[in-house]
Subunit: 293 residues, 2 copies
């Protein structure tokens, strides 16, 4: 497996890291890139992330056998529409979006004869810093990548997508877009929403600054994801709104249960609830989905 | 500064780590230890955490110039009552409890002529694993220790307490017990309560196991504290109940604000709220209380 030409649409952290990793693995001969901002394109060129900068997405994908769409999720439909006429029928097209129901809908709406090229992908990787200057060839090593193929996606395309990510050191599993969005509402979007809420609640208090100055390693790790990029997370929370609101309601219930036990001074009930969480979390391991593929 | 005899009351993770660190720093000649469980006492002896095991707390503190009470918070009053008659009037007595209002009340109730010996202390350190077998001489290095002296605690005692912790590599600051409990309700107890709730909410769902198998590094860090010891956290949440419930109410409000923005599809409001959290968390640094002493 070696690609002649990767077209990178969106030269940010995720796309840039993909290009660097593919290059490091010796899997690509040439990388063309497009970003809406001319400054970003030039930076990607300067950093050696892309070999040539194009002034449109369509120009970038012309002749490419691999296309990675790594734009903000809400720009996916317009981007796919822009590249559709220029796509080679043999190209493998993937995205890196954190939500999948909306991406699949965008692909159905935007891609005409080229829908079969598209394999939606979500690498569970990231940093709290954005931008191509933070791109990192090892970002996808040991991470999980969820593919959510469409019912009519040719099997060969899905296998090729798997091989690409595995070659970068990722583990791969497959889910339906709906199952994907439900799982990530629970274990990613809800923790982010909660971390945003907690940090705001603490910081806004009269003694918020003092409280924060006392915080230790527990707070540091719990709240790390609250530093995430606001435009990316605005889009994710809106794209997966119903699932996230559902998960948030479930969390409130669990929180109320703990609060009631505290208010009632019911030590044994309180300990039981904490123990339930503690045992679940002690058993949990990163990479539990290893065996899914 | 060198102590002739440290009495360790409670040979667990926190107490054991203190004894090991003090020994490593060459600051103590002999360590006596007491734990309610004979098995724990023998383990502490075997691991070289204590030099002699005593069969009562009073016996352990006899002749000690430094006493560390490292028992579950709810056992503090009984422990102080038990050691009071045997305490040397010159001893420095500290605890390591995560709540301070209740510890100060316990000290006032239990210590007769020896109240001046006591300097309440809270080292912001810990692990998700308990027990003397996990004791670690470096646990208090680079951690913050909050002292909450009583109004009549002699200044010399407070300075000595500061020096002990600083000699172990800790930073030290002083707060009133009330200010301490308010701050830690916000930045420690609330994150724990929230992490317990979220883990329970996710795990109890019909597809909870699948959701958890998909979770990535964000979930790992956010939920790490949910693995904490259930009896310790039951006591902390009950001891600081009013402050924690107050903080939990504030977090719900902040969460509702985010949910409303999502429900209304108000992208700019949602981004503003996320941005507020993101900027706060990006500016925050562990050890911000550095300059408080």
């Amino acid at each position: 497996m070696k690609f002649q030409r990767l077209a990178l649409i969106g030269c940010g952290l995720m796309g840039g890291s993909f290009a660097l990793a593919l290059r490091e693995a010796g899997l690509v001969a040439h990388v063309t890139g497009f970003s809406a901002s001319e400054g970003t394109r030039q930076k990607a060129l300067r950093l050696g992330v892309i070999d040539s900068a194009c002034s449109s997405a369509a120009e970038a994908v012309r002749g490419a056998d691999l296309v990675l769409v790594a734009v903000p999720v809400r720009a996916t439909e317009d981007t796919l529409r822009a590249i559709d006429p220029a796509l080679s029928p043999d190209a493998l097209v993937m995205d890196v979006g954190s939500t999948k129901g909306d991406v699949v809908a965008a692909a159905r709406a935007a891609l005409q004869q080229r829908l079969h090229c598209f394999v939606p992908a979500h690498p569970i990787a990231g940093k709290e810093v954005a931008g191509v200057e933070n791109a990192d060839a090892s970002l996808y090593r040991d991470c999980l990548v969820v593919l959510t193929p469409l019912p009519h996606t040719p099997t060969g395309r899905v296998l090729l997508a798997q091989q690409v990510w595995q070659a970068l050191g990722s583990r791969v599993c497959e889910l339906s877009p709906e199952a994907h969005d439900a799982s990530f509402a629970a274990v990613s979007h809800l923790p982010h929403l909660t971390a945003f809420a907690l940090v705001n609640a603490v910081a806004r208090q009269p003694h918020g600054a003092r409280h924060l100055s006392m915080a230790g390693p527990g707070f540091r790790d719990f709240s790390r994801i609250a530093a995430s990029d606001s435009s990316i997370w605005r889009d994710i929370l809106l794209a997966n709104r119903d699932e996230v609101l559902h998960q948030s309601a479930l969390m409130r219930q669990a929180l109320e249960e703990l609060e009631h036990a505290m208010r009632d001074g019911d030590a044994s009930r309180l300990q039981g609830l904490i123990d339930e969480a503690s045992q679940t979390r002690s058993r949990w391991r990163l990479g539990g989905a290893d065996s899914d593929v």
